[in-house]
Structures are given as structure tokens and as C-alpha cells.
């Protein structure tokens, strides 16, 4: 098992909890709104942005935020109005962002910078600092506040966007707010979970919650809990077996998802729901 200084341990632990909380909270909306493709694109844009930040000697998180928000601004209107099959454009952006990321990484001089860049690729306990923690706390707080205050508008939109619009909900505004939260969440969680895997932390806990519950309220409460548990267990596994933390978290959350499929009440006949 890796021995860590206490401050580093606490920082990483808190970072894991907050990343799990924020990623799996936004995941509820990503899954329900079919934003998975857009989200993957944004996570790779964040990765490219982080690599660019390293290249120009700027905080990689700043680069990640800029790139992922820019992608949201581009993909948001596109997904609303595209006459071209949106998966085509998303596929294009997905691959070009990865290409840019590797180009930027290749251009970074010196081994240390490359090490930092690769840490962004698959995440690292050691990358999280107090500034990152502060951002994670802020993001989690703002996001939870947003979802609580506008819960009824968001759920109306998640049920059926056109009907929500017909009832007087400004769905465009909320849609773009969700996209921005996806961009921020991905960027802020990048250092811990890594650019290639961060989106799995957004999708897996929510997918698990969808397997277990029929009620959206319970899904939106369960998803963050599952996300935090996945991150904590992944963190412990990573320390115990010296594995990249991002990969460990994703494996744990994937196993939890697999178990949820086995025990899902949605596949059982004549039995009461598991959690009613």
C-alpha cells in the first residue's frame, strides 16, 4: 500500500468525494438528456485544453475549462438545430480534440511537463491541491444549489422538453446551464480521474441508480451517493494496489453498475422493487 503524508491523503480523499459528488450529480441530467456523446466530446476537449494549458505554462484546469465551455457553446446550438446528424459532428470533434491533446502533449518540452500531462490523461492523487479542492467545493455547492432551486423546471424538462416549453419553462436556458455544468465538472475533476475516464464517473453511478429505482427523485439522490462510494472505494483500491486512481474509480463504478444490472428490480417479474 502507498504511504502518503496526512495532508496529501486528506486532500486526495476530499477531492475524491467531491469529484464523485459533482460528477454523478450532473450525470443524472447527462444520461436522461442523452448528452452522453456531447459529454464525451467535452471531456476530451477538456483534456485537450489541459494539455494546451501545460504547453503555454498556464494552469491546466483553466485550459480545460476554456476548451470544454467552448465545445459546449458550439455543440449546444448544434444539437438543438442540427440538420446534419449530430453524431457525425460529435465524432469529428471527439477525434480532433484527442488529436490536439496529443499534439500539445508532444510539444511540451522536458520530462516533468510530460509527467504532468500524462497525469491529466489518467488522473493522479498527487495532482490535487488546495486550489482544486476549493474549486470542487465551490462547484459542488453551486451545482447542488442550482438543482435544488430549479428542481421542478429541470425535471419537467427531463421528462419531455417540448411539454416543459409548452408549460412556460425556458428550456433553452436550462439546457445551456446543464452543458456549462458538464463542462465545469469535467474540467475540475480532470486532475483526479483523468481525461480519458472522467466521463465514466459521470455516466456509471447514474446508470446504476437508473437500474435500481423507478422514481426520478430517488435516482437523483442515489446517483451522488453511488458516485461518492465509487470514488472512495476506487481511492482505497488505488492506494492498496498502486493503480492509477482514475482507472481504479472507473473499474469500481463499473463493477457496481454490473451488480446493479444483476439485481435490478426492472428485470424481475412479480416481485416488489428493491427500494420502494
Amino acid at each position: 500500500m502507498i504511504e502518503l503524508p496526512l495532508i496529501l491523503l486528506i486532500t486526495a480523499l476530499l477531492g475524491s468525494i467531491l469529484a464523485g459528488l459533482s460528477c454523478s450529480t450532473i450525470g443524472v441530467f447527462v444520461v436522461r438528456m442523452n448528452l452522453v456523446s456531447i459529454g464525451y466530446c467535452m471531456s476530451h476537449a477538456a483534456f485537450a485544453g489541459a494539455a494546451f494549458g501545460l504547453l503555454i505554462n498556464v494552469d491546466p484546469m483553466f485550459g480545460a475549462i476554456v476548451f470544454s465551455i467552448a465545445t459546449a457553446l458550439f455543440l449546444g446550438p448544434l444539437s438543438e438545430k442540427a440538420k446534419l446528424e449530430s453524431n457525425v459532428v460529435i465524432g469529428f470533434l471527439f477525434s480532433i480534440m484527442i488529436a490536439f491533446a496529443f499534439i500539445f502533449l508532444n510539444m511540451i518540452p522536458g520530462n516533468a511537463a510530460t509527467g504532468a500531462a500524462l497525469s491529466i490523461l489518467w488522473g493522479s492523487i498527487f495532482m490535487i491541491n488546495l486550489n482544486d479542492l476549493f474549486l470542487l467545493v465551490l462547484l459542488s455547492f453551486v451545482m447542488l444549489l442550482f438543482f435544488i432551486l430549479f428542481y421542478k423546471e429541470l425535471t419537467a424538462m427531463l421528462f419531455h422538453r417540448k411539454l416543459a416549453e409548452a408549460s412556460g419553462v425556458n428550456t433553452k436556458m436550462f439546457f445551456f446551464a446543464i452543458l456549462f455544468f458538464v463542462g465545469f465538472t469535467v474540467s475540475v475533476s480532470l486532475k483526479l480521474v483523468g481525461g480519458l475516464l472522467v466521463f465514466a464517473l459521470i455516466v456509471n453511478p447514474t446508470s446504476t441508480a437508473y437500474q435500481l429505482f423507478f422514481d426520478f427523485k430517488k435516482i437523483s439522490l442515489a446517483s451522488p451517493v453511488i458516485g461518492v462510494v465509487s470514488c472512495l472505494l476506487g481511492f482505497l483500491v488505488s492506494l492498496e494496489w498502486n493503480l492509477p486512481i482514475g482507472a481504479a474509480i472507473v473499474v469500481v463504478s463499473s463493477l457496481i453498475f454490473a451488480f446493479s444490472i444483476l439485481f435490478s428490480p426492472k428485470r424481475k417479474k412479480g416481485k416488489k422493487p428493491l427500494f420502494s
Binding site: 438545430k81 417540448k162 411539454l163 409548452a166 408549460s167 412556460g168 437508473y210 423507478f214 426520478f216
Partner: protein
């Protein structure tokens, strides 16, 4: 009673289309009127409803509801319009409870930064009771039959406490007794609360008693309007029905 809905030379074209789905429609509906809109498939009935509530922007002409331009005040206007959508199919795994879906209709009315209170829930359960669906208020909508879900949608629109009700084939999937129940309810609401109602149906026999005017649409134009019996006996409508039979 003044006009609640006014369309002035309105045409609507869907994006990517060249031919308008609505051609130069001029129409006025007064407060408390119950108007049925009939016509063959593709006549523009749904387009008309969605142009009225602004979900589909008019390409030309002016749409005014409650005296306000829908183009600039659409959001505000839609809070007061209840809309029952056509052919709404849901996934059996949709994770929303019936009572929550009915409450969603009230979202715009409740307003931003406010939460549903007891009175809102009383409205929800009262309307579910009117439609005979209070028994499955805690059931996920994905587990309802087509008819049960249709009633949830109607209850949702009524829970909004609308000033105008737009109904697009509201009797789809409903059995005969449910149709009667809903039809009587709509008639009561129209008479007792002067609820302005626009009712789209391809089934003439489904039109409720409260109907005061029937509009016939064909290929995006109003070809005839008046009392139902008068409209049905007109030569234009007879030709439409004959044309429909030839295509069957």
C-alpha cells in the same frame, strides 16, 4: 368577451421545408369559445396549435394571445396555456411518477425560485380524481397503459389552471367511457369557467357538446368554419371526405 387568440395572415413553414404548413391563416377566437379543428391528415391542425402557443414560430403574420405577441411574450403566454400533445409515446422505463408528471404542468404557474405547496398538490390530486386516475398517482408513467397515460397528460394540462386549453387528439387511446368522462369534463370547464378551448380531432364524433364553432383545415388553409352541422353538410367538406375515401 374579447378575442383571446388572434392570428393575422399567419403562415408557418417548418425548417428545411419550402411549402408552408399554414397558409395565410386569419382567425380570431373569443374568450370562452370552444372551437374544434378538423381536417385530413397533414392539414396543419397540430401546426396551428403550436403556432398559437409559440412552440412553432410563425414565419409571417402576427399571432397574439391575451393581447400579446407570441413572438416576444411566448414564455409568459405559455404559462397560461394548457397543451395536450399528440402521439406522445414514452419508454416503459421512464422514471417519473404520475403525480409528479401532473405537477409538472404547474411549473410555469408556480414560477421560478418557488416550490410546490399544499394548494398545488391539492390541485394535482383533485384533477387526477376528476379523471379517475388518483389510484395510480404513485405509479411510474412508463408502467401505465396508453389510455391511462393520456389521462395523465390531460390532468397535467388542467392542473396548470390554464386560461386557454389546446388539445391535440386528446381522446387518442381512450376507451368509450373515458371519452365520455373527459368530454363531459371539458364541457363543464368551458361552461362554468369560460375556459377557451381549441380541440383538434380527426374524429368528428369525438367533438364535445360544448363546441360552438368548427374550423376545417385542408393543406394549411381554413376552407370552412361555422357550426358543426353546417360545416359537415357543406359541399367543401363533402368533397374533402370523398377525396379521403379515394385515397384509402
Amino acid at each position: 368577451m374579447g378575442a383571446v387568440i388572434e392570428l393575422d395572415n399567419v403562415s408557418t413553414i417548418y425548417e428545411g421545408e419550402r411549402i408552408p404548413s399554414l397558409h395565410n391563416i386569419t382567425l380570431s377566437i373569443d374568450e370562452g369559445e370552444f372551437v374544434a379543428v378538423i381536417g385530413p391528415n397533414g392539414a396543419g391542425k397540430t401546426t396551428l396549435l403550436e403556432t398559437i402557443n409559440g412552440l412553432l414560430p410563425a414565419t409571417s403574420g402576427t399571432v397574439r394571445v391575451f393581447g400579446k405577441n407570441v413572438k416576444t411574450h411566448g414564455l409568459e403566454i405559455r404559462k397560461k396555456i394548457g397543451y395536450v400533445i399528440q402521439n406522445f409515446e414514452i419508454d416503459s422505463l421512464t422514471p417519473f411518477l404520475s403525480k409528479d408528471v401532473v405537477m409538472m404542468g404547474r411549473t410555469g404557474r408556480i414560477g421560478l425560485l418557488r416550490f410546490p405547496n399544499q394548494r398545488d398538490w391539492e390541485r394535482v390530486f383533485s384533477n387526477m380524481q376528476l379523471l379517475g386516475i388518483e389510484g395510480f398517482k404513485d405509479r411510474a408513467v412508463g408502467k401505465l397503459s396508453g389510455g391511462e397515460f393520456q389521462k395523465v397528460l390531460i390532468a397535467r394540462a388542467l392542473t396548470q389552471e390554464p386560461d386557454v386549453l389546446l388539445l391535440d387528439e386528446p381522446f387518442a387511446n381512450l376507451d368509450v367511457s373515458s371519452r365520455k368522462r373527459v368530454s363531459d369534463l371539458l364541457t363543464t370547464l368551458n361552461i362554468e369557467r369560460s375556459l377557451t378551448t381549441v380541440f383538434v380531432s380527426h374524429d368528428i364524433n369525438a367533438i364535445p357538446e360544448a363546441c360552438t364553432r368548427t374550423i376545417v383545415l385542408d393543406q394549411g388553409r381554413i376552407v370552412c368554419q361555422g357550426e358543426l352541422e353546417t360545416v359537415l353538410s357543406s359541399s367543401i367538406v363533402q368533397q374533402l371526405w370523398q377525396r379521403g375515401k379515394k385515397h384509402d
